[in-house]
Symmetry: C3
Subunit: 365 residues, 3 copies
């Protein structure tokens, strides 16, 4: 049954009058539009991933990671998609996600065009977004997007799925919106960390920091419905409490969660501690800074208080939320988590082009 996806129906754009009407719909109603032939075609929302898919893509990430350790394996990988071309359209600065996707492409041999600086692409400004999108699609086989505007990736996929040249789109982060590949790499890191103790099912996970505006926390929360008996500890100062819509979601899917502002007391209770930073970029109230809440920082002294198997995660970049001294502890997995992002994104691209069977075959050969 491996690789068996949940059934998705085909895009039915004819049902929609236009972008505004489409965009306003619930995510659940839109998911089918981004699938083809019973597989995900565009990667736009975290809600597109079910348990089957998550298990499959984690297994694929693992296979790629292991293959890349050997010279012959990495040579095989880089030939898989050497005849394909990708575009990285990253007009919101993001070195980390950019490098992660770029090197994921490089691992599979894809040739990459990138637009990072809009000042060198000013000609594009004279035309509509829809026209720019169709132009990008003219030249490449895959478009990966990071954009300041919420919904931009979704719009791109929406435009292209109706054009003569549909090209898959991956959302690399759209404004204050979703960041589905971050959620995937977090799941992969959790599953990898708990591989020896039964995986993510049944675990207790603390999410700490700015739970109000962080899209990482939002995306990850959505995915928890795919796992059994997970308990979330939502640890934040009052001002950064998680929003009502996520709580509604968690309740609806019967995911247990506990809200608290006592970081210290939470430490010994959980299997994973997911530290986050303030998303300064989207701060509505500039005065409210995480810097003012050192009681929510992970310090060296806390290492004695967490369980021996508890992992410490962070989406990076960090500022003051985790003391540098913590890095040396084997339970600090945030650098591994960052590298997992590259493997997971490589897996996602391999999946999109349907070459994952070849990867599994090499490993079992």
């Amino acid at each position: 049954m491996e690789g068996q996806m949940t059934h998705f129906s085909e895009p039915t754009v004819q049902n929609y009058a236009g972008w505004d009407e489409f965009y306003a719909k619930d995510v659940d109603e839109k998911i089918d539009f981004f699938s083809k032939e019973n597989r995900l075609f565009d990667i736009i929302f975290s809600q597109q991933f079910d348990r089957n898919f998550l298990d499959y893509i984690c297994r694929l990430s693992n296979s790629i990671r292991l293959l890349a350790k050997t010279k012959s394996g990495s040579r095989k990988l880089r030939r898989l998609l050497a005849h394909k071309r990708a575009m990285l359209y990253f007009v919101q600065p993001s070195t980390r996600t950019f490098l992660s996707f770029l090197n994921a492409c490089h691992i599979l041999g894809l040739k990459v065009s990138d637009i990072r600086d809009t000042s060198t692409s000013s000609e594009i400004k004279g035309e509509s977004q829809e026209d720019s999108i169709r132009t990008f699609a003219s030249y490449v086989d895959l478009i990966i997007i990071r954009h300041l505007e919420a919904g931009f990736s979704e719009k791109t996929a929406w435009v292209l799925n109706q054009s003569e040249r549909p090209v898959p789109v991956i959302n690399g982060g759209s404004g204050p919106d979703q960041h589905p590949t971050q959620a995937l790499l977090d799941i992969y890191t959790l599953e990898r960390s708990f591989a020896h103790i039964g995986g993510l099912d049944g675990k207790k996970i603390a999410m700490v920091g700015d739970l109000k505006r962080g899209r990482t926390v939002r995306s990850l929360s959505y995915l928890m419905k795919n796992y059994k008996d997970v308990t979330l500890y939502l640890v934040s100062p009052e001002i950064f409490k998680i929003k009502e819509d996520i709580k509604t979601f968690l309740n609806k899917h019967e995911i247990q969660f506990i809200e608290t502002d006592d970081f210290r007391q939470t430490l010994p209770l959980v299997d994973a501690i997911y530290m986050t930073r303030i998303q300064k970029e989207y701060a509505e109230d500039a005065t409210a800074e995480a810097d003012d809440y050192p009681e929510f920082f992970f310090k060296q002294e806390h290492l004695t208080e967490i369980q021996p198997h508890c992992v410490i995660m962070h989406p990076l970049p960090r500022r003051y939320e985790i003391e540098v001294e913590v890095d040396k502890d084997p339970r600090a997995v945030y650098w591994r988590q960052e590298r997992n992002g590259m493997w997971m994104r490589t897996a996602l691209i391999a999946y999109i082009f349907g070459v994952e069977k070849k990867i599994f075959k090499v490993l079992t050969a």
Copy 2:
């Protein structure tokens, strides 16, 4: 006889005292300087292309386009020049042409160095243009240039052809000057569109918009002398009428043309409608904007007035000249035209490195 080029003589730089003297000469006198061993070496002017070359490069573009449709074909293409290195020196912003050339290189496997932002190459500023040019040539096997300065590509080719390391140069657009690869892709699109009705010979083509300053119209006009019985309809407001030098050229080569400011009446008469936009970048009189001339826009309602086989073209980006609703009509070929640019540029690079025989061979095998 296929691929047989008109005879060009070898560069004879010794005849020229210096760049200024060379630059001032008529284009026809300079063409030989950019050829080697009876083939085009640098691609600088539209006037370098004769009918033999145009037919050959269109056929090569077609072959590449067909090959790239299959996995084995695209793999063969990307191995052809994987040992070669190109430089894209694009200091005038141009996302479209940049991406088109970059992906043309990627299709053939060339490794690409690009300079797009002069702020990251400020060291270069301290030296003469000639020295910078020689530096670029030190590292790569092909230089593709987009520059705000008229004649910059020509100067680069001129400098290098006299150096110990001549490297071919392609003009990707020099200021208000020529844009020869745009002209090639336009010809390819016309020939492809008319393949079922005898090709471009004998056709009626309307060029619409800013005929005064658009380099697209200028380059395309030069190429019309290679085709039999073409009639040009030059459709523009009085203020944007085509310049005298082009009319002199058309008269000299006995190319029929009709000047008119009646767009509506022209519609049913022609086989192709080439819409253009105002080149804001080079506008001398900022007040004169195409936006003020909606009677020269192509609207959805016009679709009923053009012939069933008539194609609508545009160099893109468009602003208001063509209504978005027109895109859905199969006669709107501007998106295909854009993609043709990539195939044509791939063909040009393959030709420059002399690997086109291998491409034809794969297809006939």
Copy 3:
């Protein structure tokens, strides 16, 4: 005995309390830290190169240069490291060195991620340099750095050598500091130029211009201790005289040197003339410009005064230090020197990944 390196001991970071303590040490004490298994691991200082290494890397550069002349040779080269990924972190503008390294990577097939413009990587700013460095290392197999800050490359190598993911680092120029790959290409150019007259040993070399602040002169001086009976003519105006620390170094290693401000008289005496420019970027006293010292410029008329075998070198870019008319003389080797930089950097990267044996094998096959 070819390729036999001097013995280096393993990194012993445990001996150092922290970066500041490490950084303050003498270069000679730090060299071992940047070696592994008796080979250079990171390329940070010119002082890391001994005669064995210099001879070896010159021979490797030569082999690569010859291989690249043929199609089959260049195809073999570009497959050697096609499964590896490099990062060019060039936040100090430097087109020349950037292109040289980038194309060196391309010759060997490495996939390259580059960060050239910090405005597109602003997210990085929020984190510590150490964290940014570890992030880069997460994604690639080699990091090449150009930075305005003295010691930045060294710090990067220092951080990574202590991490779980040590990745080799090449210093592509750190502030007013060292520029070891420039020194290597200079040595290679000198050795190549003197190949027919016994190599660099016993030669007389004039270094001309700003000897006070130029890092080229500094790096090259360090390497002279590896050659027998070299005499340096240090030719500069009083204000740009070489600093005491280099004179101390030359004296300590018994390298003969003559300080003079008489450029003209030096011309007939030497085997190589190394012209340099003012490093405006680091000028402490903006009024002191080389432009004011035309008596230290190399002019066409000087060509009759130098020896028939004397070579004229320059690190480029040049400003007024060498008249353009000099370029045509076969003794003007600065353009070749620039291209040597690419071959030397290719050799260095091949060496770092340990594939140089394969290169020698192809040539002797």
